[in-house]
Symmetry: C2
Subunit: 199 residues, 2 copies
DNA sequence: GCCATTGCCTAACAAATGTTAGACAAATGT
DNA sequence: ACATTTGTCTAACATTTGTTAGGCAATGGC
């Protein structure tokens, strides 16, 4: 059954799964829900995937890959820390806005993974966080950023840039780049008005 | 069956429910899980609550109450906007750290509410967000805060202060006040180092 | 023209789910 | 002393769940 525009049935299933997992949560989404949305029977999904959890794994780890690859790329390109952070934020926001459903699953449904994938996933997430820690440390060395509690700062940054996932609508007035810029400004400069421009 | 230290069985059930809902999610927590943790049978819970969802409702709306009451209080006391924001953040962090389990449920499990409670809950959450919008608007009038996109700023602030719920451990080195102060500083001032102190 | 593969189907399964009915014992009030 | 309330139990229910087995039609290579 040739699918439109060479998107394979496997990918199609993953996409619909991500959509439903975001909408109702992984546990609350049944294989029959999924099948109905695809216009097939639940059992048919098992021709493509060997379990419900395999779907979750695919989504979570594919997204983890994307995020980590992005962050590594940013840290490999040699810029100053502020540019790095802005780039990392931009990539992050782009990845989320371009893969809203999968990102949601990556961000909130991974806890339904069971061991050993659960532990593995947490490692990958840690790796991603580490890339941000590196950027902040760079910024400190370059005397651009304040000497902040880095773990604290990284988590604050990530929580801020992740939250867009809960309100971003593609029809909205801001595109990914604009959001990323606003977020970067907010994270760098905070709310408070300045009497003198910095740097 | 007199419970230790006048905490009623009803409260006990709610507490254990919150703990499990946080741990495994509302959907993945069965009434039998809950009962086992309480040392009773699943059917016995129905003497105290008429459904599983009633437990979720109780937790979500009780917490909504707490948050809103706090925020209103802050806005009623007449201080300048920066103080208001710091106070609001402090109350928020305190509420989360003092009610970790229930806060988790409030923050992530409310989507399992069904109508009409679902809509009602979203209204309450909106009310809470509005209190922050008011503070930001005050700050602008007082020329303390930048003229930011307020909806954007409020969501950023809330996402930042909510995220502590995912890593805060009572045994950790920071207490609620310290966390609140750090968060406030971060939100007000951002990461970037300043050449001249503001204000 | 045949055979293997692909992709789906129907039917069924055991297990787990939320919930109800009804019984029983202890505590409480009068 | 009796009646009621309180809090739990056992047993059962209908439904939903993830998953498997086996079959059937279309497709594509040779």
């Amino acid at each position: 059954m040739a699918e439109i525009l060479n998107i394979s049935r496997k990918e199609q299933i993953v996409n619909v799964a991500a959509k439903l997992f975001k909408q109702k949560g992984f546990v609350a989404t049944s294989m029959r829900d999924l099948a109905a949305e695809l216009g097939i029977e639940a059992a048919s999904i098992y021709y493509h995937f060997k379990s419900k959890e395999e779907l979750l794994e695919k989504i979570c780890f594919d997204m983890a890959d994307k995020f980590i690859t992005n962050a590594r790329e940013v840290n490999d390109i040699y810029f100053n820390a502020e540019e790095k952070l802005r780039m990392a934020i931009k990539f992050h926001v782009e990845t989320i806005t371009e893969n809203q459903n999968q990102s949601s699953v990556f961000l909130s449904e991974w806890r339904n993974l069971s061991e050993p994938k659960f532990a593995l996933f947490k490692q990958l997430r840690q790796q991603y966080e580490n890339q941000f820690t590196i950027i902040l440390a760079d910024g400190e060395k370059e005397d651009i950023f304040d000497d902040v509690d880095k773990k604290f700062a990284v988590l604050s940054i990530l929580s801020t840039i992740n939250f867009i996932n809960e309100w971003y609508k593609p029809e909205g007035k801001m595109n990914a780049s604009e959001i990323a810029e606003k977020l970067s400004n907010f994270i760098m400069g905070g709310l408070r008005k300045r009497l003198v421009t910095d740097r």
